[in-house]
Symmetry: none
Subunit: 224 residues, 4 copies
Amino acid sequence: MCKLASTFSLRTFSTDEDLVKKRRNHIVQCATKAFTKQGFSQTTMREIAKACQMSSGNLYHYFGAKDEILYSIINTATSLQAECLENFTRDLDSMSPTDALVQLIRKLLQWHDENQDVTLFTYQETKNLPRNARQDIFDSECRIVSLFEKLLRSGIDSGEFTINHPKLMAHTIVTIGHTWALRRWFLRRYWTFETFVNEQTSAILKAVRRDTSAIAGDGSSNEG
Amino acid sequence: MCKLASTFSLRTFSTDEDLVKKRRNHIVQCATKAFTKQGFSQTTMREIAKACQMSSGNLYHYFGAKDEILYSIINTATSLQAECLENFTRDLDSMSPTDALVQLIRKLLQWHDENQDVTLFTYQETKNLPRNARQDIFDSECRIVSLFEKLLRSGIDSGEFTINHPKLMAHTIVTIGHTWALRRWFLRRYWTFETFVNEQTSAILKAVRRDTSAIAGDGSSNEG
Amino acid sequence: MCKLASTFSLRTFSTDEDLVKKRRNHIVQCATKAFTKQGFSQTTMREIAKACQMSSGNLYHYFGAKDEILYSIINTATSLQAECLENFTRDLDSMSPTDALVQLIRKLLQWHDENQDVTLFTYQETKNLPRNARQDIFDSECRIVSLFEKLLRSGIDSGEFTINHPKLMAHTIVTIGHTWALRRWFLRRYWTFETFVNEQTSAILKAVRRDTSAIAGDGSSNEG
Amino acid sequence: MCKLASTFSLRTFSTDEDLVKKRRNHIVQCATKAFTKQGFSQTTMREIAKACQMSSGNLYHYFGAKDEILYSIINTATSLQAECLENFTRDLDSMSPTDALVQLIRKLLQWHDENQDVTLFTYQETKNLPRNARQDIFDSECRIVSLFEKLLRSGIDSGEFTINHPKLMAHTIVTIGHTWALRRWFLRRYWTFETFVNEQTSAILKAVRRDTSAIAGDGSSNEG
DNA sequence: CATGAATGAGGTTTCATTCAT
DNA sequence: TATGAATGAAACCTCATTCAT
């Protein structure tokens, strides 16, 4: 829905596209580890190079600058997440909106459980990207919100859900996913992944299911 | 409840406590602006000094290092937030748990609305602090979660609420507050503060109010 | 005899050992000149870099800190001195202790005549080194004292010398060497190198040669 | 004999001469301790001020710069040493040159034993003084050498001593004094003060007493 | 394609000295 | 006379980036 062509480009000196893809992948994998441990600013190109078992000069054959690696990590992760959830959604077509929602929430949380570092990292380091690079990331996040929004709207249509602002609820669900990654220092102390999934799912369902007792919203909304 | 003595200390060369307090305050104010614009790592001490209309040397009379300024910003904000909410809670003693909860949620969101920069900043830069400094921040956050937890438990006692894991719900509420600050690039595009408050409050109430239809949690919990 | 492994280590970013050795040598040469002119503290890394015709950043590929350059100068000089005298001693095996002593004293003084700057420098700047670095220097000095001590003891054994505290006499000889470098502002005003060598040699011989008229020492000594 | 008016002057803002003298004395005492612990360059004016229980601004009422304190320490010590030995010499008039020499050597070594720090300090930090300040120090040292030289010459006149270069021997004796302070890390490990005094005295006497067996010096000398 | 030595601008921090109080 | 807050130049050191090999 809001998928845009990437507006931030990566420099390379190589013309062998396959090699470029392979090397960039490798660098992104290794740099993620290094960045997660120490933060973007505190990690030097030398350290990244060592983590990649490459010379630092060679990094510059595949990325034009340190920034571009950062962008690539965050953008790759966010795009993959969007893609992963989009694919997953396709398999839910036959389910009821409620069941589909439960499944998608679990999938979302699973993704963040498996990619905790990148989620945290995205929150912390996106600000270090130039404006147009940031836009790409935001676009991917919009795609993910949209997935939930569509599901919620189909539930409204089917009469299962009552929601004043489905896009807002979609966004809230997405941020609950983030929370599992961002606040692990707190959450992991008390609850297992299963407990967290079940409790949050339960709360969301209570909030969206047909019900007449809601405190009225003010009705104002810019939602399209 | 989990208020601990600060474990991270600030160096100063001055012995005039009032002056130290005044200058530190001033520096914290100005540095916050500078950091929010450009991020911690990208902001130089020279820039901070200029923002404070001080010589860079003089900064070091009131803070021992750049780190200490960062800590001071985050710690001051988080402590003040905890204190502010704790004070506010005292005025809610006479209300029903439901009403008190509604009020406290609004207060929490108001705080984040007025201190968006610091909230975002806390998420992004806490990792740049040494471990013991980070602990201080976490402690303040625990205090805030505890406020909500106590309220929820009193609602359970009074029979108004049904909640499996009150601490988790408290935590969820707290992160909804963060969300208003962290995701303003998204939220502000579509909704006003009022809408956001009302909708989130409504969703939370639906989730906590006496109700027998919950999807069962797994029952396992480390919550005390 | 008291040769120990070095306890103070030098950082480098390079793995090409030959290059490291070459560059360090070059830096040590140039830095020695700069330090001797202005003292360690008064010489900046930029000046050292300029003296080496290097960028200041590149210095840090071969030394981790200014300290390490200082250490390297002093340690290199002291080790080389010890080695030089040890090698020279080997050629004296066939001589009588008296003749050997005369030769070794001259060699010692020659070394200090040719390395006046480093000797002075060692006295002035060793205190700027960390404790373990200082230990390395002391060890080399012990080796030099030992050379003389062994010679004196062999003279005692052969009946040529009478000495109550051979180690102390050895030490005294070593410091006479230092004196030629440390007090040149005075000595050079009045005497040539030859005069100095001859006079000091003569005085030492008078002091060590079999003679029964010595003022008795107190006999107490920790000498092993 | 070579007492010159001081060529390096100390700034003060005060006109109360007694106060100036008192304060300067105090500062010199305290600064010596501080410098000895950490070296001149590594000691800050703030630390000196704290050691003096003064404000750093006030230091500048009595000394114009950090250099001037350094100069004052070294110059005071060296002058006092010269004066002390000169006074002591007056009491030796009635003795034989040999006895007087023995007494004066002991006095010299006693001084260095009691003022080890300043001796070491003088060697290490004199280079940090401007040329004309350095001259003052050298002059005091000349006075001390002269004392011994006069004594040696009177011994030659009386027929007790045979010395080719009395000034050189005088200088050697003076440096033996320095050695006790400079090389305490070595000497103290093995010998007591008494042993050191006795042994060195004995060696010196052997070297200066009428004797025909000396290796001939080359006879060349600039000694006046 | 790959290396890693070299660059040098610019970062944080220190500290001798001044000057208003 | 005494204070100590303020200054700002300059110190050490880092590190993204380039380029000869």
